[in-house]
Each structure stands twice: as structure tokens, then as C-alpha cells.
Symmetry: C2
Subunit: 334 residues, 2 copies
Amino acid sequence: MSRSEPTVRDVAERAGVSSATVSRVMNDAPNVDKQLARRVREAVKATGYVPNAAGRSLRARSSSQIAVLIPDADNPYFSQVVSEVEPAARSAGYSVMLCHTGNEPDQEQTYLDQIVARRMAGVIAIPSDESWSGLTPLTEANIPVVLVDRRLPDVEVDRIATDNMDAGRQAAVHLRDKGFRRPACITGPETLTTTEDRLLGFSHAWSTSAGGAPALYRGDLHFDSGFTAMTEILDDGDIDCVFVTNNRMSAGAFQAIRGLPNPPALLATDDDIWTRLVTPSVSVIQQPIRDTGRLAAQMLIDRIAAPNEMPRTTLLSSKVIERESTAGGPPSRG
Amino acid sequence: MSRSEPTVRDVAERAGVSSATVSRVMNDAPNVDKQLARRVREAVKATGYVPNAAGRSLRARSSSQIAVLIPDADNPYFSQVVSEVEPAARSAGYSVMLCHTGNEPDQEQTYLDQIVARRMAGVIAIPSDESWSGLTPLTEANIPVVLVDRRLPDVEVDRIATDNMDAGRQAAVHLRDKGFRRPACITGPETLTTTEDRLLGFSHAWSTSAGGAPALYRGDLHFDSGFTAMTEILDDGDIDCVFVTNNRMSAGAFQAIRGLPNPPALLATDDDIWTRLVTPSVSVIQQPIRDTGRLAAQMLIDRIAAPNEMPRTTLLSSKVIERESTAGGPPSRG
DNA sequence: CCCCCGGAAGTAAACGATTTCTCCCACCAG
DNA sequence: CTGGTGGGAGAAATCGTTTACTTCCGGGGG
């Protein structure tokens, strides 16, 4: 029923050559007779030979897989990054192992062990927080790492991210230009550099250009905390515009003002599909997610080729997309 | 600088035992002296030994990875399936390789080669259409496959999917019970079993219970074609309710009626975030996506353990979630 | 004419973990 | 006292590929 898979020796025998020659043909080595090469290729076809990746990887002491470590595959930001990394990696001859840590340390540890055990060619990681300890085992095993989106203190490693400070600045400029005067910011925990940088950029730009500081509401990045924060803002009164620094809290915040007659202006983060469908449509800071994924893969591939060069950081800029939720200016003069 | 990784022999030497014993300890084999086992474990810690997956996989003639083949990681349906498969697989000791075919045959072929080359333990596949040829190389290599969501003709293989005919029937019942009388259906190409089954269930239930056939509009599953179809429906007039059979066309269809005073009722597919945020909120057929992913993984793991049993098909039922877009009944009698 | 060089192909030794086979020993029953 | 039994551990073969080393050519220069 199930014969065992053909090996390089079976092919060699059928082509009347040695296994070394077969290997040379498979790897396009120079100095192989055209005639023989053709015979080998025919034998490969005839036997249906597919090189065993384990054997190859054992001999080569590395594999042609890269790992992508993400906290949560459901979040469209992460899944878009993944779907851009994948084709870029494949066209360079790598395949992608998806590691979905769910923000849980033991799950992450399992994957880190796997990555080392498989001698993966490299890792693209979105760490869960700034105390991320996963980097050490990887660097010790000489596995190149590219960080996406989040910054770690005291480490020298390749990184690609949105210029979050600048994104916050753009948000402030947009809201001020539209005539709003009493801003609030719904943001994440202080330990998360992504949202914290956006807050810092926003606050700094606001205080230097308009004066004063935005009211501050912190959530846990999820939908519900965005809803709760916006509800508090409505209760507190006196706020005429709200900047939300991540995608899910943006949706939650919108839910809280849905259908209200005179809601505060809303500037959300990430251009998800819902922002165009709701009424009023929602202005957003659009991050260059697709570029991020593509360039992360490129960066990793470059790093694998040149392990000893200096680490780089690439920052990509975002832009404001204006829609109805900030178009109107403040509701009234008072 | 970079010493080479410790091997089983290094550990053996340090613990004063043979490599065989180390292997036995690592794999929890019975009949190992407690004392020795402890010494081995200490040596493992001290050396930082991590078993080389390639060596193990070569000897075992199989790997502990499963592959998930999806057409498009961006689609929330697929990414949710993946994010459920992953933890279920991991807790059974498998890791997940993500294969993102982008509906392109050559990309898919690359991955199929990889899957065979790596002797993967199994594959969860969402084929792009009913002429999917990827199954053959896998079954020839004795790699178990579980199909998700889509049906293939003439193959006997494990499958898990939503009961799409029943979903269509539920849609018809809901719209008829709400008092609508002139339905349209926006659906996908005839070759896609998923959307076709929903259409069939819808049409059949409608004709037997209310009489007549729904007006038919076909799209290519993407946002724009949903928008176009709904625009045509509005032009054609005479339609009082619309059932859309996939998630992205649902969003496009909503876009076309956004803000209109008396739009036809809309019943969408998949409970995406936007359906609750828009005005009017949108009634949906909710598929059990999370169960689908979890059970697909379970099914594959069972199959790996028992390769020779008969293939099974599991159908999961969906349910209608009623919101504002179908709540009102038909706009007027005249 | 001889030597050396270089291209082409084969031989065999790695890579690292597992596992069969074998050996040793202690213990127990006859 | 002896033969059998079974647990515990080591030696060595094995998985399939790649590659350093060898071998065998033929040809060109001294």
C-alpha cells in the first residue's frame, strides 16, 4: 500500500549515477555534465522524488523556515502583517511558521523552544510588552530577530515600526486645525510603547501648539475598555474631541457615541472596514501596515544574509484620513 | 563567539551516561533509574541543551508540524479559524505552519512541495475551488488532510463545515417570518460550494414556504462586487429584502444602502464587528467559526492517530442574529 | 615523453536523535 | 546451587542529505 518515499539513492540508482551527483543537480551546482543532469532530472520526475527537509536541514544545521510571533491572530493589524510577510518570505525561499502566543508566557516559551529546536532561519516578533524575555534565548542561539511595532529597552536589534510619536503629532495637528479645543485621549497601558508613543506625540504637539494637556483615559486595548472610556468621557462632559490610539478601543469608543445627536469628534487608529460604513464615518490615523509586513520580511532576509552588520531601525509614517467624525468642527461656541 | 549548540552527546558526557539514556530521559521512557534521570536533567539544564528537531524528525520519518492552507489571511473568517486551530494543535504537541496561497496555483504548489518535503504530520486545508488539485500529492504521501468549509467532489476525506444549506434555509425563514415578500440573494460564483449551498438552501426554503424564487445577483466575493450588486438591486426596484452569502460582499452591500431613507432589509453573513456599529445595525447569519477551527484541529489529530478509519464529515449549524436591518418588516404595503 | 592541472564524478563521512540489539546484573523459584 | 527472568544501560546502526576528499580522466606545457 504505502511504499516508503523515494530517496536520493533511489534516484541515483535509476539515473545510473551517484547520490552526490543527484544532490549537485538538485542544488544547481556548477560543473555537472548537461547530459547527466538531464538524466537525473528525468529520474527525479519518474520516481516522484521530493528531497527530505529533515535530512537537508540536519546536514545544513539550519532550516529554511522563519517564525512569526504574534500575540493575537484575530487582530486585523497582526493578521495583515502576517499576510504581507508571507509572500515576501516565500519569494526568498523561506516558509513561515505562525506562532500565536495569545499573550501567555508559557505558550510563548513553547514556541521559543520550537524555534531553537528547529534552528529556524530567523524570527519576526511582535513582543507583548517591554519586559519581553523571549529575545535572549534567540540571540543566544544566533537566530536573527526583527521586532515589529514595539520597542524594547536596552537591546540592539533590528526593528520596524510606525513612527508613533509622529502619528500622535499628526492627530493633534488635525484636531487643532479643525477647531477643536478640549481634547481627550483614550490610550493603552503605560508599558506598551506603541500606544504610549502615540499619546506622547499627541500631548506634546497639543501643548506646544494649542496649549494645555489632553484629558487622559487608559484602557486595556480591547473593545470594552474603549466603550467604557468613551462613556466616562461623555459623563465628564467638557470634551469636544477624542483621539483613540488603537484599533479595538476605537471601535468600542465609537459604539458609545453611536446614534448620539452631538457626539465629540472621534479620531481613530487604523483604517478598518467599519470606519467607512458607520454613520458618521470615522476619521482615522492610517498606519502603513502592508509596508510594515513586507519590509519586516525584507529586513530579516537581509539580516540572515549579513548577520554581523549594525542593527537598524526603520520608522514608517502614517497619515490622517479625514471623514465625517472630525469634519464638522466643534458643535457650538458655547 | 558562537560555540555550536550542545548535542545529546555533550549532555551524555557531562552526566556520565550514554546518549541512549539521555534520549530515554528526554522522551520519558519507562525503565530509567530515577537517580540517573535526575543527573541527566541537571546536565540538560547546565548545558542548555535543546533537542535538534531535524535530527529527531529524520529518525522518526515525520515531523510534529501541521500545515494550515488558507487562500487569504486577511479575511477574518480564515484568520479566526487559524487562531483557533493553533492553540488546539499546540496543546496536542504540534506546531502550525501557515500557508497562505493567495488563490494562486504556483504559490500553492510551492507549499505542497514543502509539506511533503517536511513530512508534515497533517494538513488543514481550505481549498480555493472545487477543482482543487492539491489533495492528490498529499494523499499520495500519506499525509492526512482535513478540509474546512469547502466541499470537493469525488473525494473521501475528513471535512468540517458550516451546514450552509441550513444556513440558507434559516435566512429564508427569518425574512419570510418578518413579512418580506420580494427577496434577492447576492452570492458567489457557482463553483464555490460554500456560497452556492447557502443560495440553494435559501431558494429552496423560500419557494416551498413563500413561493417563487429570489432574484439572483452573483459577485466575486469581494467588497466591490457586493456594492455593485446592491446598487443594481436598488436600480431594479421591486426588492424588499436581500440575503448576502459572504462577509465581504455583505459589507459592500451595506455600503450601497448606507444612509438611504427606505433601504431593503439586509441579512448578512458572518458576525463581523461592523455589523453592530453601523446604522441600522445589520442582522446576520452567524457561523460557528471558533468551533470550526477547534474541531478541525481535533479532527486532524484524531486522524493522525487513526489513519485507517473511515473519513467523517461534521456539519455545524449557524444561527440568525436579529438586528435593526431586518427588524422593521417591509417598508409599506402599497 | 612526462608531469601537472583541472574538470567531472564517485566514496564515504559527517549532521543529531532514536532505537534495536546486546549485555550485565540482581533476584527468585525450583 | 542453578537456570530463568526482567530491569536497566550501553554500543552501534539508522534516518536522507550534503560535502570534503578521492579518483580518474584528458590535455597542454616543459
